[in-house]
Symmetry: C2
Subunit: 411 residues, 2 copies
Amino acid sequence: MGQIVVKFGGTSVADIDRIRAAAATVKAEVERGHQVAVVVSAMAGVTNDLVALTRDANPLHDAREYDAVVATGEQATSGLLALCLQQMGVSARSWQGWQIPIRTDDVHGKARILGVETEDLASRLADNQVCVVAGFQGLGPDNRITTLGRGGSDTTAVALSAALSADRCDIYTDVDGVYTSDPRIVTRARKLDKITYEEMLEMASLGAKVLQTRSVQLAMGHSVPLQVLSSFDGAVGSDLPGTLVVAEEEIVEQEIVSGVTYSRDEAKITLLQVPDRPGVAAAIFGPLSDANVNVDMIVQNVSEDGSATDLTFTVSRGELDRALEVLEACKGELGFAASVPDANVVKLSVVGVGMRTHAGVAKRMFSALAEHNINILVISTSEIKISVLIAEEFTELALRALHTAYGLDAA
Amino acid sequence: MGQIVVKFGGTSVADIDRIRAAAATVKAEVERGHQVAVVVSAMAGVTNDLVALTRDANPLHDAREYDAVVATGEQATSGLLALCLQQMGVSARSWQGWQIPIRTDDVHGKARILGVETEDLASRLADNQVCVVAGFQGLGPDNRITTLGRGGSDTTAVALSAALSADRCDIYTDVDGVYTSDPRIVTRARKLDKITYEEMLEMASLGAKVLQTRSVQLAMGHSVPLQVLSSFDGAVGSDLPGTLVVAEEEIVEQEIVSGVTYSRDEAKITLLQVPDRPGVAAAIFGPLSDANVNVDMIVQNVSEDGSATDLTFTVSRGELDRALEVLEACKGELGFAASVPDANVVKLSVVGVGMRTHAGVAKRMFSALAEHNINILVISTSEIKISVLIAEEFTELALRALHTAYGLDAA
């Protein structure tokens, strides 16, 4: 017996049949004696439709009105899931963000949760009533509805788990766990039983779209055990069928590398003949930052004669044009000769907390790529990951090679 | 300069183009120096879709969850209209029922408004900000969303007008006013400039679907001047292009009859050979009332020999089968010989406060019908209306004849 929070994403509540399946899963947990709070997303497609309406109404929209409109998606699902649970004989009611309330700051459209007042919810849970919470939303200091930004329902679920000190937070989605790599490309990819918060964070930010970075950070900060599992195979969270995201010390048999990920949302810019003087990096990256262009990997070549050098860095593909505009505008001031863009690149990363204590991880990566004649354009590393930028055409080949090289292939 | 409440129905906010047209109308009022509160319905079709989802989720649905789901329709429209107004440079914000709050009782699904706390709204209006209020909903004593039942947005608009002591409440819909008869049938029907609350009430309950009975009652009780007008012809309420619903004393040139209406939602039942003894009417209509069958017109023939008589009454067409079942179940106890149903009937009514002071109104009706050989099956009257039940096939002929007989035809 315990208290669990379960969250169903948009595809898991896409229509009444799916909502009914979600209700059946919740009922199974209730029948095992658990107290269950449920967090729901909007039905798949609904949020996109609502966002399109707000854009059509006013392209430069007031985020407060945007929030009032798009929050209706989760509100509707919460009521519908409560109705399905009641239909199955399970005591349930819906809770909107403003009813609990889930208090947030006033940054409409991407608000941060400041606190969850769980008194009412906890007493309902103690009475064995399922609390169905509309995800993605809260109440701002102006008494208006706020939304937490895309993927915010995961954050709602984790914040609620932390506030309730729940035993586990199960994120039901359309995949049955976190894999060692993308199974659509690497057919021998394996589902991981456990992964650390740090690894999940790296993998989320490196392109694995299973969990939002923010919700993993929040779970790590509050030590909320997370589970990623599928709502499409009838699995019940308490059987632990998915991938558990936990603290490092809870994983006994830690592998050196847990996963190989990739991100196609990359573009490379090389600035030729950048004057090699102090402050030039700040002069380049300052204007990019001012224009909200995020720079990821950076390589500065050693200048041969001490006067000028080439500088290469990556930005997300959607920001490439903006980055080039900003650079052209400062070209005279910065004094570089030319900017050379390349959008046909991909970032591959190997991730694993085991790297901290094992040498030779990078060497194995470089060797495996070299064996396949794949040229590395840029390298960046952190304590638990190594990323390389390569030409996009090698994506699948490189992913499979690395997966094999680190011994991740399924038997 | 004044304070006005305007309400847009579902077809008037059916898509972003229609919402933009509604915003243009509101802007025109603001530019004339008026303070404007707007009440919006859900976009046409949305409420039906949401209701269908709740029924699919749980046919015997919890009205509290039903309310949480269906209230999202008006919430979305309120945000979208605020966005369109802002886009046109008009200061505006949305208000949900729970934010104002509009307090209601706890009868979820058909709640009654107990009070509207207008302090915040009034101060925003004084600052020339348009307040866009989600119609149809309020906050129950349990801190949950309530809805007011179908047509509830009209009620919201009138209640808000009363609470604000607004100068006028304009109901924008898809017709440009109240007509002397149905213009689809009576081509010479005229739009009325003014009509009394009492007449509007009779016409609403007799089949003219322009306004909900409840909102007219509320307007009458609080002396809120109502205007019915179209949102499809660019009309601005302050030009008084529609039909004003006002108190009797505000109409100087009162006609004897203001309108001729009809209702096809009628069915007639004749019970043959009902024993003519005290208490028999109660014995018949009691069980019907218990089964929630509303009986409208009743005629009891004079019994010839004092022992048995025929009894005729009308029910709404959708309740005919239920009524017959109830009667058959009590047949032995009631002692009538047979029940004869007839669903091919229609109720015609002439309505006018002028009847109070003019004789011969009924005679003119009966003569006009007789001239066209239309047989009257049942008659019922009130202070300001006369209704007759006739065979349905004569509907159009009778409507036109009466419209002419009372001098209502357009020149």
